[in-house]
Every structure is written in structure tokens, then in C-alpha cells.
């Protein structure tokens, strides 16, 4: 089972690497934002560049998972390979586990340029404890966005999934305050951001790397989003199974 999950993950990664546009989508934009916005404008300010890097990391966690699962799953469902793979002597679990593993690897690959640029070209800095805390926040906040991607991927056809993922990601990024410093967003954004999945995630990230207080209401909102996305993802997965394989 574990070996098969690794096999599935390996072939998923090979497929992604052969058509690297998917990687560019999630890795290039945050790296470019670091170089063009963070480095020149706040790169010399230790506090601001640390917060800005934390925001970009959250941005990657969202886009990488949203696009990989939202679009990847929807595309796979359209392929005849999927029903064929179900005749192989393995259940749905190794394939699913393999996909999540591959997703984590690709997320890490997309995060590396952001972290490297922050370390080399800005004054951003974190202690070992804060770094580990941030790593934990990355893992925890990847969960709601993975579930959100799966919900989209299992409930929509590929063409619709691409559009929905693209339409969602910008308002989520802007509305969550990922494009602005803590407290620096327009008033209405400041009001709603803590309760959006992106805003709640980035607030946890800011709390991990800086002097930003954890807001219980915001954490509760993130938990609620996670439960909601899990519900939709599970519903869509079952419905898809029922339609195609029952």
C-alpha cells in the first residue's frame, strides 16, 4: 500500500515535470512578486520583509494546492486512464495518497524560490523556532486549500474547474490581505480578511514569524472553512464515484 502510494506519487511527479507549465504557474508568480515588489520596496526593512515573505508563502500554499487539485483532479477524471487504473489490483487509496504526496512535493518546490529569495535578497529573518512554527503553519494551512481544490476538481468538469480556480484565487489573495502588509489593506479588506481562508491562514503565518497576535475568531473561521471544504470534497468525491463507478 505505502509502496504503491509512492509509485503513484512518483509517476504523478514525472508527468508534472514533463509538462512544467503547472509548476511555473505556482512557482514563478510568487518568486517574481518577491523580486519585483518585496525586494525593492520592503527588502531593507526586517519586519516588513519578513511579513511580506510570510504572505507570499501563504500565497503559494493556496495557489499550489488550489490549482493542482482543482485542475489536476478534474483533468484526470476526464481521462479513460482513470477507469483503467481501477481494474489494477489496488483500491482508490494508493492513488489518492500518491496524489497528496505529489502535491506536497510540488508545494515545497514552489515554496523554495520564495524562501531563498527572502533569505538572500531581503533582510527578512526568522529564528529556528519561528521557522519551525512557520513550517507547521504551512502544513496545517495546506489542508483547507487541498480540500478546496479537491472539492472543485471532483465536482466540476476540467474546463469549468480551470475557470473557477482562476476566478477564486485573486479575490482570495487580495481579500485575505496577502498583497498588503499586516494592517495595511483597505478598510473593508481588513474587516473581512480574518474570516477568509487566505486571511486566516496568513494571520497564523504572521503570528508564527512575527509579533502578530493570534486571533481566536480568525482561527475558528479557518477551522470552519476546513470542515466546510472537507464536506464539499467528500460529497463531490462520492457523487463522482457513484456516477462513474457504481
Amino acid at each position: 500500500m505505502t509502496a504503491l502510494a509512492l509509485t503513484h506519487a512518483r509517476f504523478q511527479l514525472i508527468e508534472t515535470v514533463r509538462i512544467p507549465m503547472a509548476l511555473i504557474g505556482s512557482a514563478f508568480f510568487p518568486a517574481a512578486s518577491m523580486i519585483f515588489f518585496v525586494v525593492p520596496f520592503v527588502g531593507s526593512d526586517r519586519t516588513y520583509s519578513t511579513y511580506a515573505t510570510a504572505s507570499m508563502v501563504t500565497f503559494v500554499v493556496m495557489t499550489s494546492n488550489l490549482f493542482q487539485y482543482g485542475i489536476g483532479v478534474a483533468e484526470d477524471r476526464a481521462q479513460p486512464w482513470d477507469p483503467y487504473a481501477r481494474t489494477l489490483p489496488a483500491g482508490a487509496a494508493p492513488r489518492f495518497a500518491g496524489r497528496i504526496l505529489a502535491g506536497l512535493v510540488l508545494m515545497v518546490v514552489s515554496l523554495l524560490p520564495v524562501v531563498l529569495i527572502a533569505a538572500v535578497a531581503t533582510e527578512a529573518t526568522v529564528g529556528a523556532g519561528a521557522f519551525l512554527a512557520a513550517l507547521g503553519v504551512v502544513v496545517v494551512t495546506a489542508v483547507p486549500f487541498t480540500l478546496m481544490g479537491l472539492a472543485i476538481g471532483y465536482s466540476l468538469p476540467a474546463k469549468a474547474a480551470i475557470v473557477v480556480a482562476q476566478v477564486l484565487f485573486f479575490p482570495l489573495a487580495f481579500g485575505g490581505g496577502l498583497m498588503t502588509a499586516p494592517g495595511g489593506a483597505p478598510g473593508f479588506v481588513e474587516a473581512i480578511a480574518p474570516y477568509l481562508p487566505t486571511g486566516a491562514a496568513v494571520r497564523l503565518m504572521w503570528a508564527a514569524v512575527g509579533d502578530f497576535g493570534v486571533q481566536p475568531a480568525s482561527v475558528a473561521a479557518l477551522v470552519a472553512w476546513t470542515v466546510a471544504f472537507a464536506g464539499v470534497a467528500a460529497w463531490a468525491y462520492r457523487r463522482d464515484e457513484g456516477r462513474r463507478f457504481s
Binding site: A3, E15, P83, P89, F245
Partner: protein
């Protein structure tokens, strides 16, 4: 020993009844051809027996187990009707991926050699021709050293040489004791490979017999003539269709029918004798 069994199986898709209380046993070592027109229920039956779908009512078994249970499928090999290989992967990688699912798979080289695919090993499947993809899809069915393989229209889109090469591969597997269930709507293909033919239409088994017997059943000719007068009652005619003053007579013995037409002095012209398609033959038989 029975390797695949369907007992009183029905399968419904919404309002459509794809399989209608169907029974089928496939014994170890058999090479069974499932024959029938499009939409007859062949692929549905294969999907049930390979665990992709579940029957609405009735029971399916694979080697005595439930085909929906992954462990049961260790003895199974499948070539689906639609190929759909992951386009970015190389042929060798797809083979390795499939092999990784089985406890004692066939060696990659051996499998590729058996189906003449050595040269394609490093090619990405997205760049293969339709026929090459099809050959890879058939080879994959044999990757896990299966006891039973289901080939759903394996040679669709293949040229004659590739089709014959593929038939050789299937025959070799069968000669080693393997069991094969093959669907096709080409009588020729089933004749070339199978010893037993199961004819399916409307989700039911219409005939289950040797190739020779089924061939006799469906070897219907269509004799068409234009005549101003109505046709007399002629022996051996199993079906009649009229289009204006053109009449199509369906019969297993075209020679005799033509002799009878002449003996009865029917004033016909534009005589045409041609084999019917399987579909026509079955429609006539089941009407």
C-alpha cells in the same frame, strides 16, 4: 474451474437496461468471444466482471471472489475499449507503473518483446500513433501474469499486420493455459481466436455455442431484386424488406433462393447478393 461468472445480472443506467438477467460462466483455459452490435451490453458486462462497476441486481464473481475487491484482481488483466494512456509518460514507464501493482509481474523487456514494442520503450505515449497506443494498451493487460484477461475490442483501429501480430500474442497466452474474454463486433476476429462464442444483444445472451455453430446462425445473405410483381412465398427466407419495387430477402442459402426465383419465373432484374453485417443478421434473428 470457473474463472468468471455472472449470475442473473442486470445493470441499469437510468432508464436504460444495459444487461437484462444475464448468466455467463467462463471456465479456466477458455477463449471466449463476446459478439454483438454496438450497445449490446458487451462493455457493461466487462466492466462488471472487472470490478469497475457494480451490477444493479445479480452477482458477478472473478475467480470465486468479488471483482470489486482489489485482492481478487491480482489475477486479472484488462484492455479497456478506450486507450487513454497518460500522455507525458514513456511506454516503459507506463509498463512499470502497471507492473508495480502485481506481486509477480512479467519482466518489462519480456512483455515489450512479446508484443513487438521494444522500439517504443523510450517514447512518450502521447506521441504514439493510434495503432501503437492500442498495442501498448493490449500489452498492459498481460503485465501482471494474469490468469484471465478481458480485451474490449482490442484491435479497433489496427491495420492488418498489427492485428495479426496481436492475435499471435493472445494465442500464445491462451496456449500457455491463459483464459481470455474478448469482445468484438467483427466476426472475423472472433473466428480467428475464439473457440466459444457468446452472442449478446439487448443485454441478453442470444447464443452461446462453438464458432462453427454461431457462424451458421449468422451467415445470412441479403438477396436484393427489383420486380414489379409481389414475391411468391419462397422456402428458406428468414426476412423480407421492401423499398418501392425493390425487395431484400434474407436467407442462409442464397444459391438456392436464386434458383427458386428463376424456377418460379419471377420477372426480376438488378440481382444483388451480399453478406449481411452481423448487426443485420442479429436483428433478423431476434425480430
Amino acid at each position: 474451474m470457473i474463472l468468471a461468472r455472472a449470475t442473473d445480472v442486470s445493470r441499469r443506467y437510468g432508464a436504460v437496461l444495459a444487461l437484462d438477467h444475464l448468466d455467463l460462466d467462463v471456465h479456466a483455459g477458455e477463449l471466449v468471444g463476446l459478439l454483438g452490435p454496438n450497445g449490446a451490453g458487451k462493455s457493461t458486462l466487462v466492466n462488471l466482471l472487472t470490478g469497475v462497476r457494480r451490477p444493479s441486481t445479480g452477482r458477478v464473481e472473478l475467480c470465486g471472489g468479488d471483482p470489486r475487491d482489489p485482492a481478487t484482481r491480482r489475477v486479472l488483466g484488462v484492455t479497456p475499449q478506450e486507450t487513454g494512456l497518460p500522455s507525458a509518460l514513456r511506454v516503459g514507464e507506463v509498463v512499470d507503473f502497471v507492473r508495480a501493482h502485481f506481486p509477480d509481474p512479467l519482466g518489462k523487456r519480456e512483455l515489450l518483446a512479446r508484443f513487438g514494442l521494444e522500439e517504443l520503450e523510450r517514447r512518450q505515449t502521447g506521441g504514439l500513433s493510434g495503432g501503437q497506443k492500442r498495442r501498448v494498451a493490449v500489452a498492459l493487460a498481460f503485465a501482471g501474469r494474469p490468469r484471465i484477461v478481458f480485451l474490449d475490442e482490442p484491435t479497433t483501429g489496427l491495420d492488418v499486420a498489427a492485428r495479426h501480430a496481436l492475435w499471435d500474442g493472445v494465442r500464445a497466452f491462451h496456449a500457455d493455459g491463459g483464459t481470455v474474454v474478448l469482445t468484438s463486433h467483427y466476426l472475423e476476429e472472433v473466428e480467428a481466436l475464439a473457440s466459444r462464442v457468446v452472442v449478446i444483444d439487448g443485454g441478453r445472451v442470444l447464443a452461446d455455442d462453438t464458432v462453427a455453430a454461431v457462424r451458421g446462425l449468422v451467415a445470412i445473405r441479403r438477396v436484393s431484386v427489383t420486380a414489379a410483381v409481389p414475391m411468391p412465398d419462397l422456402p428458406g427466407v428468414v426476412g423480407t424488406e421492401r423499398e418501392g419495387d425493390r425487395t431484400h430477402l434474407l436467407t442462409p442459402d442464397a444459391d438456392r433462393l436464386v434458383r427458386d426465383l428463376i424456377a418460379r419465373d419471377v420477372p426480376f432484374r438488378d440481382l444483388e447478393v451480399r453478406p449481411t453485417s452481423l448487426e443485420e443478421a442479429f436483428l433478423t434473428l431476434t425480430a
